[in-house]
Amino acid sequence: MTIRSFDLLQPRSLAEAITLLVQHGEDARAIGGGTTLIILMKQRALQYRYLVDLQSIPGLNQISKEPEGVRIGALATHRSVELSPVIREALPVVAEAFSRVGNVRVRQTASVGGNLAHADYRLDPPPALLILGAEISAMGPNGARKIPLKDFFRGMYETALEPGELLVDVKIPSMPAKSKAVYLRYSAMSANDWPCLGVAAMVTRENGRCKELRLALGGVAATPVLVNGLTFVKDQLLDEDVMQQILAVVDEQISPFSDLRGSEWYKRQMTQVFIRRAIAQLDSQLIEG
């Protein structure tokens, strides 16, 4: 279908963008890469009189190395994250997660901010960012604030952003020493399809034992899930007993629902399979490394 006519507003600064969004209220929406928004507007599921084009604001697409991590501007494209030498070196799991989104045409256009703000329950990047303890900087009519990513997703297509508030960048802390992370994405149908679910895992080791395990999942609840209550693995070997406990904890915290890519039953099964696979993969990497 076609999009209803709208005005494309091109602010030159964040402050101007926020002013425009506040001024036009429900009639306006921010647009990043537009890969999701434009489809919804073409279907006429969403209609706006004004789109506030964030791409016209200079400097929002930077990817920079900082003393304690990496900062990714909201307008950096998926493709630039996937290919960034800084990210591939420091946070390969992030490059991997972004590289799995859709296809290269989507990744070349879609922005990191748009991905997170879209808050679909199956997105690939959020689990990887969640295990790394990413934090969002937001700016709105009431000024700037920081939102830990784990508090950002509030429901299906719902985030902590207030009206007129924009996602400015994502700060990702460096990986702890002696740790490895992995993102496993499972497409149950076509390999080209959205994932049925995704599992991100990070294991930190110390003296041959597990120091910390972090797990996050996409596709198995209305929002991405960062698994809590895994501190019991500290100083354990990740053997079958511990694995059973981990899986029980995870099973409690997910609430998958049936969709085109799998029933609730199937998603619970696959969660277990892919958590096992992720942990097994990390365990062997850490032993080798």
């Binding site: 279908m1 076609t2 999009i3 209803r4 006519s5 489809i39 279907q43 006429r44 499972y186 149950a188 149908m189 076509s190 390999a191 080209n192 399809d193 959205w194 079958e240 694995m243 059973q244 899986l247 029980a248 099973d251 085109l260 799998g262 029933s263 199937y266 099964q269 696959m270 277990q272 399979v273 096992r276 696979r277 097994a280």
Partner: protein, 782 residues
């Protein structure tokens, strides 16, 4: 075959360059001054009475030329508000009631597409929902909601002349086949197998969605540019619907961006025509991808199949096939008939009983889909054949080979088969996959298995193709044919046939694209029929011209016409190339000038003999057959159920290849399309509402899904009446993919999936059930 210059050569496609360089003309690229664009409001209800439509606000919008409803069309004198190839049951726009969610209700033509869509949002329709039926087995029960109160046959095609008017039932067509004594064979059987198989509705997903442009020319003649596989039929249908003389309708079809059966018969043409007639402006309607999903689908089919075994062989088979044809019959009856009669398989089975029902439901209409329904019936009979072989401890390949029909034996219809390379196909498939080698041992969570499947399709008979060949004085030729080049390579193939016959080069032949003002009648471009039918017509027409040329040369050189052959742009004495004349010399001799042309027409019109309505017996039910076999090797992940197809070998008996590479490409293209249909494609409905009607949610097989190895094998059993022995190839590779993969999966992990698509989840479910223990937390060991 002796001394062929270009037939049998894998020459490159003549349409490749313009397509790859983006210069090929498609309907969607044609712009005309003052052209209007169409948007259509579709029903949100699967079945509802239309109480009232308020379109006044839409009509008031500046730039809107017309807002049209079905009630208005129904009031127009001389216009038939309904169309359809088997029954005239499909309204141009819904009249009084809607029959599926997606049914067109109101059309707007406006100066641009956006405005037309804006106008739609201002139309208000008041519906009264009616009870609806979504399940084909429920639709055949007496309690079911009725989709149509009565059925009005169309009379457009000879093979559908026997379709009857009916009422008070959702069954619009019932095909019966009876041979032998089925009851007795079952009573005497050692074992009886009874299974039910299903395959879902799916979409063709042609790269180019439907698009039609209609305008009235300076003589007020109706000019139609349309993305269609059946230009001749479109003209007939428009003439019947609007009462316009045939010579005042011109239908043209440029290169098609894929069809696969979706673009057969009439689709958008009646609606766009009426809008052009009302507005007197050029009007174009291009479907969005989402609308494409609401326009036409592959038939969902449920098949119950019972097979009697005595002394290790099949003695009887009973098939009940239910075709869910959706809200409008479309070509469902033809499919129920032509595919129905093949549903016991290409085997020697003395006792067969087939009932094939074409059934209305309140779902998106279903029509032709590469294979015309045969992949759905093969899914049932080949899957069951494999299950039986395994159950009685027979080798699945031998179990198929033994009863497979030989040349000269009768099919279930009583028709004697000829050019029937089914055994060769099965053998080639088995050999290619190294069937007799022991299977690899499972490694970790991965198990491998192999599967073979075989089946056959019959070509639509009777049908008609006409061609005109015009030879120019410089030795070049134009061929007038209504066969649509839709990616299958017909332009190249026809070019090769005519070039061969006239002894000229491929570059010297130009194939004129379908234009009903000039190109003769052709039934359809579909069903793997063009190479044979149009190929024969074009070849015969060229042969007539050659005969005229030879006559002149024979007189001039005082030799017998029989001793003359054509080659290198000349007619010469066989074996003595220097004794001959060029086309130019012949024209000068015959006409005294070079300014003229030689033309000839020929028609290929194979007949079928009467089929008994009670027994389905016919001395000749079809002109020729397409035997197919597929071999697959798969790897199944027993923890996820996911299937990876490692090898896919597609074998087809296409008759003699006019262009071997084309035959291979057709086999592979069809097989790979069916890879997605086998593993994940399904149009999912919830209470009649399509849930995944866009390419975001409906996925077709992508490059990432391709098997590690794919291989086409062309079996060439020549057909005595085919052009140079050719039959056809467009559908053959599609026929047997799904059962081959299902059979390989059982070979790998011992579970049988009877409902397509074979998703990872279904396999894991079956594995879990087989183990008898629900997988609980942590019980999957790595």
């Amino acid at each position: 075959m002796a001394n062929l210059a270009i037939v049998g050569q894998s020459v490159y496609r003549t349409d490749a360059n313009p397509k790859v360089t983006g210069r090929a003309l498609h309907v969607g690229n044609i712009e005309m001054p003052g052209m209007l664009h169409v948007a259509v409001l579709r029903s949100p209800y699967p079945h509802a009475r239309i109480r009232h439509i308020d379109k006044s606000r839409a009509e008031a919008l500046a730039g809107v030329a017309v807002v049209l409803t079905g009630a208005e069309i129904a009031k127009m004198p001389a216009v038939d508000a309904h169309f359809g190839p088997a029954f005239r049951d499909q309204p141009i726009l819904a009249v009084e009631k809607v029959c599926y969610a997606g049914d067109p209700v109101v059309a707007v033509a406006a100066v641009d597409k956006r405005l037309a869509e804006d106008a739609l949002q201002l139309v208000e329709v008041d519906y009264e929902p009616l009870p609806a039926v979504f399940d084909v087995l429920e639709a055949v029960t007496p309690e079911s909601a009725l989709v149509h109160e009565q059925h009005r046959p169309a009379k457009a095609f000879a093979d559908l002349a026997h379709v009857q008017a009916g009422r008070q039932s959702n069954i619009c067509y019932h095909f019966k086949l009876r041979t032998g004594d089925v009851e007795r064979a079952f009573a005497e059987a050692d074992r009886v197998f009874e299974d039910t198989f299903s395959s879902p509705a799916a979409q063709h997903v042609p790269m180019e969605p439907h698009v039609t442009l209609v305008y009235l020319d300076e003589h007020e003649r109706l000019n139609v540019w349309t993305a269609s596989q059946s230009p001749s039929y479109v003209r007939t249908e428009l003439s019947a619907t609007f009462g316009i003389p045939m010579n005042r309708i011109r239908v043209r079809v440029p290169y098609l961006g894929g069809g696969y059966g979706a673009k057969l018969y009439a689709k958008l043409e009646p609606l766009v025509t009426i809008l052009a007639l009302i507005t007197k402006k050029p009007v174009r309607y291009a479907l969005t991808r989402e609308e494409e999903f609401l326009t036409i689908t592959k038939h969902k089919v449920v098949t119950r199949i019972q097979t009697a075994i005595k002394d290790g062989t099949v003695t009887a088979r009973k098939c009940e096939v239910y075709w869910d044809t959706g809200a409008y019959a479309e070509i469902g009856p033809r499919i129920g008939h032509k595919s129905g009669y093949t549903s016991a398989g290409p085997y020697r089975i003395p006792n067969v009983c087939i009932d094939s029902y074409c059934v209305y439901t309140n779902r998106v209409p279903a029509g032709a889909f590469r294979g015309f329904g045969v992949p759905q019936v093969i899914w049932a009979y080949d899957s069951q054949t494999d299950m039986i072989a395994r159950a009685i401890g027979a080798d699945p390949v031998e179990f198929r080979l033994k009863p497979a029909l030989d040349e000269g034996e009768p099919f279930a219809t009583g028709t004697i088969v000829r050019s029937f390379g089914i055994k060769e196909a099965i053998r080639e498939a088995a050999q290619a996959i190294e069937w007799s080698k022991p299977r690899a041992a499972p490694s970790g969570t991965k198990s491998r298995g192999k599967g073979i499947a075989a089946g056959v399709k019959a070509v639509l008979t009777p049908s008609i193709s006409g061609a005109i060949v015009i030879l120019n004085a410089d030795g070049t030729a134009n061929v007038l044919s209504s066969t649509v080049e839709m990616g299958q390579g017909s332009e190249t193939t026809m070019g090769q046939i005519v070039a061969e016959e006239l002894g000229i080069s491929l570059e010297q032949v130009h194939i004129v694209q379908p234009d009903t003002d000039a190109t003769p009648y052709d039934t359809i471009t579909a069903g793997s029929r063009s190479t044979y039918h149009m190929g024969n017509a074009a070849r015969s027409a060229a042969a007539k011209i050659k005969a005229e040329l030879c006559e002149v040369v024979a007189a001039r050189l005082e030799v017998a016409a029989d001793d003359l052959v054509a080659g290198k742009g000349r007619i010469f004495v066989r074996g003595m190339e220097e004794r001959g004349m060029t086309v130019g010399e012949i024209f000068l001799a015959k006409f005294g000038s070079l300014g003229t042309t030689l033309a000839a027409e020929a028609v290929c019109q194979p007949a079928a003999s009467h089929m008994d309505p009670e027994t389905g017996q016919s001395e000749k039910c079809t002109e020729y057959w397409f035997p197919s076999a597929t071999a697959a090797e798969v790897e199944v992940d027993t923890e996820t159920g996911q299937v990876k197809v490692l090898q896919l070998v597609s074998v087809g008996d296409t008759g003699t290849s006019i262009n071997p590479r084309h035959c291979e490409q057709q086999l592979l293209g069809a097989a790979l399309t069916h890879l997605g249909l086998t593993l994940f494609e399904e149009m999912v409905f919830d209470e009649g509402q399509l849930v995944n009607g866009s390419l975001l949610d409906y996925q077709i097989a992508s490059f990432k899904d391709m098997p590690e190895s794919v291989r086409p094998i062309v079996v060439q059993v020549p057909h005595e009446d085919g052009p140079f022995g050719a039959k056809g190839a467009g559908e053959t590779g599609a026929l047997t993919v799904a059962p081959a993969i299902a059979n390989a999966i059982e070979d790998a992990v011992g579970v049988r999936i009877c409902d397509l698509p074979i998703t990872a989840e279904k396999i894991l479910r079956a594995l879990t059930d087989k183990e008898g223990t629900a997988v609980s937390i942590g019980s999957t060991t790595s």
